[in-house]
Structure formats: C-alpha cells, structure tokens
C-alpha cells in the first residue's frame, strides 16, 4: 500500500511537470469543448488529434489524450443541459433531468451539479483504479498466448452479449475490423496477404488510425450533418460565484445519493469492454431513480438525475482505462485508440508495462488526478464561454474537423494511399451507420487484431491444433467459457422466450 502511494506520488509529480501540466490544461479545455459540441465525443477528439501528439514524448502524449478524454466527459453535460441535446452519447442520460432544470431557469444548478458529480465520480474511480490496477497487472503477468487470446475473445464477447445492438451487425463489425487488421504481411510466415488489387499501399497494412479517423472524423461528421438539420436553441446560464456556491450546497443535498451510486456503478460498468460510459451513465440514472424516495420527480428536473449519470460517465472513463493498462484490452472505443497509440509509440500494452515502464504508467495514473481537478476548475470558470462557443455555426467546426482528419490521416503514415482509404472508410461508415451497424467494434477489432491472431496461432501450435487448450488451462478456461456464454446469451434468451411462447421481436 505504502509502495503504491509512493509510486502514485511520483506519478502526480510527473504529471505536474511544466510540459505535462500545460498539456493537461490544454487537453481538458479541448476535451470540454469537444465533449460539449454535439456530434463530437472523446473518441472523435482522440482519433483526430492522436497524429499531432507525435511531437512530444509518449508519456506526455498519452497524458494529453487522457486529459481530452476526461474533459470530454465533463463537457458532454454542458450541451445536454443548455441545448437539450447530448454533447456526446455518454451524456444522453444527463438530458433527462438537466434539460428540464434548464427550462425552469435552473441551468446553473444543473451545470454546477454536473461538474461536482463529475469530479467526485472521477476521484472515486481514480482511487479504485490506483488500488486495483497494480493488483490486476500482477495477476496478468503470468498470462501466456491462450490466456491473452481468451481475454481478447472476452472483449469481443461483451459487445455481442451486452452491446445492445443488432447481434449479426455487431459480429460483422468485429470480423471486418479483425480482417482489415490482417492486411499486409502475415506476421508468422512473412507472406503478403490480402493485397487488394495488388496495390502496393496495402503491403504496409491498414493503420488503425486510418479506420478510426475515417469512421469518427468523416463518417460520423457526415452523419451528424445529415441528422441534425434542425435549428438548436440554447438556454442561458448566469454564472456568479455566490450563486454557484448556493447551487453547490443544494446540489450536494439533493444529488449526493446519485453521485455515490454513479461513482461506483460507473467504474465497474466502465471496466467491461463493450459497456463503457454510455450504458454506465444510463444504468446509474436508472438505479438512482429506483432507490429514490421521490422517483416521480425524476425526468422533471431532479438534481440527482444530473448527478448520477455525470458521476458515472467520468467514473466509467477511468474504469475503462483499467483493462487497457493492465490487460491490454481497451474498455471503450476511446481507450482502443489510446491503445493503438501506445503501439505506435513503441510500447507493448499489457501487464508488462507496470514492470517495464513504471514511469509511463504511474505518470498517466498521476495525471488522472491532476486532469480531474483541472477539468473541474476549467469547467466551472468557463461555462459562459463554452455556451457562447456552442452557438458557433456548425459549418466552421465541421470544416476544421475535415481538415484535421485529412491532415492527421496523412501525418499518421505519410502516404496519400491511406488518405484515400480513409475517405473510403468514411463514406462506408456513414452508410453503415445509417443502417444501424455499430462501428466501435470494428475500431476495437483493428487495434486488437494484431494481438489476437498471433496468440491464437501460437496457442494452436502449442496444442498441435487442439482447440481444447482454451478450455483446460486454469485461467484461460473460465475466461473462454464466460466469453462463449456472453456470445450465445442472446441466442439462449431467444430460445427461452420461444419455449415459453412469449415470442420476441429481437433479432438474433
């Protein structure tokens, strides 16, 4: 315990070094803005801005990106409350009570509650993270190829079992990501593989960034422009120190329960790969309403209904970092991109990071605490500015994002082939998104593919082709079984309902 505190102290010290501190402040401010803009979430920000972080050392780069992630979780609430439309999917539940509060002229109360709950959620999650991460990493250190493959399978299984999207489309999305990851050279035999049309550009493989920027920078933007054609009205929020203090008091009195529930629930839901911050915040809202003495007030402007999802989405974003750092499995699309970034920086994500790169890991963990504090300060001090910026015409923002996407897509690999490929992915993503195909699994899969395939092949080589190796080993076995249960869960549910004669309209 004392050892962990020492390491954490070093990490926080690392995070407040001038360069890192500047990056944290810039990161949370950018994140707040990105989170507040409808149509942009942390994943868009991190995907589009990753290529420009090659300027600074990897430790600082990930601190910057994590700060964006943090800021975006705070920022989502701003537009949920003042515009009535969630700034990011993670802030959907915040609109339920945040918007009614704003309509009653209590926008400031909602914004202050959101910021405070976010801070508490982030802090609780950071403490849980600091306690759990080293422990989990130590356990994971002894993992061999079968265990690593089993946990990849589990990551994908959670999308199928818990994702809530059309199952066939989810599985398709996972497989397409994994297949795209195999383009280039076969890692084991060295033979060229899937070189479409013998175009030499494919020999270098498809960088996950090309897919991520195509999907989140171009596809999602086209989708947002297409779907938000109506005019948006903003509510004003008068900010004053005295008023904010009073609101903080009222918010604490009426929102502490929601904050507590959100903080803990969010963290544990955030750890699950497919779940992440969006379902975490929805669940926190639901549970808080369920245990409330006045559930009928929810949906009409109860501060607890703002506190719960906001505490949960911050807590979940830290939670999703846990499997990323300790097991090398991203807990959310944003962490998938961070993980891909780590690979580009020459780091091998997984438990060995804690042994080989303690400065990197603890600097990042330390930065969570610092980012959380700065996100609160920047958020509360600049709320009027963010509201003003939300009125900026979308065409200005969209043009900048397209420029950043094209430039970032080129900077990532310095090849025009990849820029064209990115555009192709962008168009495909737009069409598929319109047809309800989930795209996050594909991005996760292209990041995990290069780890999943060799571990599968090495495992099968170890067992001379016998797949039972995934079931008989003490750690891999239970993980594989849980993964399979999750994959077949929707099918079981479907059959069960059929047997009972209730029928189901859910597609399997």
């Amino acid at each position: 315990m004392i050892e962990i505190l020492g390491l954490l102290g070093n990490g926080v010290w690392d995070a407040i070094q001038p360069l890192n501190l500047v990056l944290i402040v810039v990161g949370v401010t950018l994140g707040l803005f990105i989170g507040a803009m409808p149509g942009l979430g942390s994943v868009n920000g991190v995907a589009i801005l990753l290529p420009i972080t090659f300027l600074v050392p990897s430790g600082s780069a990930i601190i910057f990106l994590a700060a964006i992630y943090y800021g975006a979780m705070y920022g989502g609430a701003i537009s949920s409350i003042t515009l009535g439309i969630p700034g990011a999917s993670t802030a959907v539940a915040t609109t339920f009570d945040g918007r009614p509060l704003a309509m009653q002229g209590k926008a400031r109360l909602a914004l202050v509650v959101a910021a405070l709950a976010s801070f508490v959620g982030g802090t609780v999650a950071n403490v849980l993270f600091t306690g759990f991460a080293p422990l989990l990493a130590t356990v994971a250190l002894n993992f061999g190829p079968p265990e690593i493959f089993a946990r990849m399978l589990l990551a994908f299984a959670t999308f199928v079992g818990l994702g809530g999207d059309d199952i066939a489309k989810t599985v398709f999305s996972i497989c397409v990501g994994l297949v795209l990851a195999t383009v280039g050279f076969d890692q084991i035999s060295g033979a060229p593989r899937l070189i479409f049309g013998d175009i030499p550009g494919f020999l270098r493989g498809i960088s996950f960034l090309v897919l991520a920027i195509g999907v989140y920078g171009i596809g999602e933007m086209l989708w947002t422009i297409d779907s938000t054609r109506g005019k948006i009205t903003t509510t004003e929020a008068e900010m004053s120190v005295k008023g904010a203090v009073e609101d903080a008091k009222e918010g604490t009195r009426r929102g502490w329960k929601g904050t507590t529930i959100g903080s803990f629930l969010g963290f544990f839901v955030g750890i699950l790969p497919a779940a992440g911050a969006t379902p975490g915040s929805l669940m926190a809202y639901g549970v808080t309403k369920l245990v409330s003495k006045n559930p009928e007030e929810f949906g009409r402007g109860h501060p607890g209904g703002v506190a719960a999802p906001e505490a949960a989405n911050n807590s979940a974003s830290t939670g999703s970092m846990l499997p990323m750092l300790t097991l090398g499995i991203p807990g959310s699309p944003t962490t998938a991109i961070l993980l891909g970034g780590m690979v580009i920086w020459g780091l091998t994500p997984g438990p060995r990071l804690f042994v080989d790169q303690p400065d990197f890991v603890w600097g990042l963990i330390g930065s969570f605490y610092v980012s959380n504090l700065f996100a609160l300060i920047v958020n509360l001090s600049f709320i009027p500015l963010f509201i003003w910026m939300l009125r900026m015409p979308f065409t200005i923002l969209a043009s900048m994002i397209f420029v950043l996407s094209v430039v970032g897509g080129y900077a990532a690999t310095r090849d025009m082939h990849d820029v064209w490929l990115m555009l192709g992915f962008g168009f495909a993503a737009f069409m598929l998104r319109k047809l309800d195909y989930p795209l996050a699994p594909a991005v996760l899969a292209i990041v995990l593919g290069p780890i999943a395939e060799p571990t599968l092949r090495q495992s099968l080589l170890l067992s001379s082709g016998d797949p039972s190796i995934f079931f008989t080993r003490p750690v891999a076995g239970p993980i594989t079984i849980i993964a399979l249960v999750l994959i077949f869960l929707p099918l079981f549910k479907f059959l069960w309902e059929r047997l009972r004669g209730t029928g189901s309209s859910q597609p399997v």
Partner: protein
C-alpha cells in the same frame, strides 16, 4: 430503408466472399509444426461475416431490424445533398493535394466549405482559409518535421522560399 438494408447485406456478402477467396491465396488449413496457415484467420472470419450478412438479410426480409421496418429512404433529398456537397468537397480536397499541395488544397477547401456551404462572410472565410494553412504549415513542417505533400513542381519556388524561413 428496407431495400437499402437488403442491398447492403448483399454487397457485404459479396465482399465477404471476395475476402474468403483472397485469404485462400495463403494456406487456410493446419500446417504440421507451424500451426494454422496464414490464410486461416482471415478466411474463417470472412466466413463468419458471410453468415452474418445472411442473418441480416433474413432479419430484413422478416422485418425484424429497425431499418427494414422504416419506410423512409436511406438518403432523402437532404441526405443526398449532404453526401454530394460535403463528401464531394472532401473528395475534391484530397484530389487537389497532389496538384496544389496539402496547404493549397486546404485553402480551396475552406473557401468552398465556409463560403459556399456555410454562407459565411468573405472576411471570415478568407480569415480561416489563409490562417489555417499557415498554422498547419508551421506546425507540421517546422515543429513536427513532418513534410506534407508539396503538389506539382510549379509550387517548388514557393516552398523553397518558405523553407528558408523555417530552417
């Protein structure tokens, strides 16, 4: 959207078959002493994709997925316009890069987007269109030392001059 759902499933099924065929260029069976062949992993994944497209099509035929129940077209007039104007704009941007350099293409794209799609004032448009390429130039070429495409040779003198500033 029902038709779009079915057509997309069909296209994706063909894509999956193509991927299976392409993966089979490498060995897809188990090689003694080497483990599964290089084509096995993508081959079987593509096979799963093919099965998925079948299920998607079946669900669409039975009207079980939301898009297949929707009467709306995949792209209405506004959607088509978005794709054409915005998507076409990005296409033009990328196509121009090899001719007028990354920075020149950015300049023209911003004028197109802000003035013709956004209907902003000339002052704002030109402000963004001129400032953005300059900022990006100094950020990428000077700070990060990542050279961006410089376009056709007629632009060489311009960049030679700019390079004397940053180097």
């Amino acid at each position: 959207m029902r038709r779009a759902e079915l057509v997309t499933a069909g296209v994706l099924a063909l894509f999956s078959i193509y991927l299976m065929w392409k993966s089979a260029e490498l060995r897809i069976g188990y090689i003694r002493g080497e483990g599964p062949g290089g084509g096995a992993w993508p081959f079987w994944l593509s096979a799963i994709m093919l099965v998925c497209t079948g299920v998607i099509a079946l669900n669409a035929l039975r009207g079980r997925s939301p898009p297949s129940r929707s009467e709306e077209p995949l792209l209405d007039a506004y959607g088509k316009k978005t794709l054409l104007m915005v998507g076409g704009g990005i296409f033009g941007f990328i196509a121009l890069i090899d001719i007028v350099s990354m920075y020149g293409a950015m300049f023209f794209f911003l004028i197109y987007y802000l003035k013709f799609l956004g209907r902003h004032s000339w002052r704002l448009t030109m402000g963004f269109a001129i400032l953005a390429p300059i900022l990006f130039f100094f950020f990428f070429e000077a700070l990060m030392r990542i050279p961006m495409p410089k376009g056709l040779p007629f632009l060489e003198p311009v960049f030679n001059y700019l390079n004397t500033i940053i180097y």
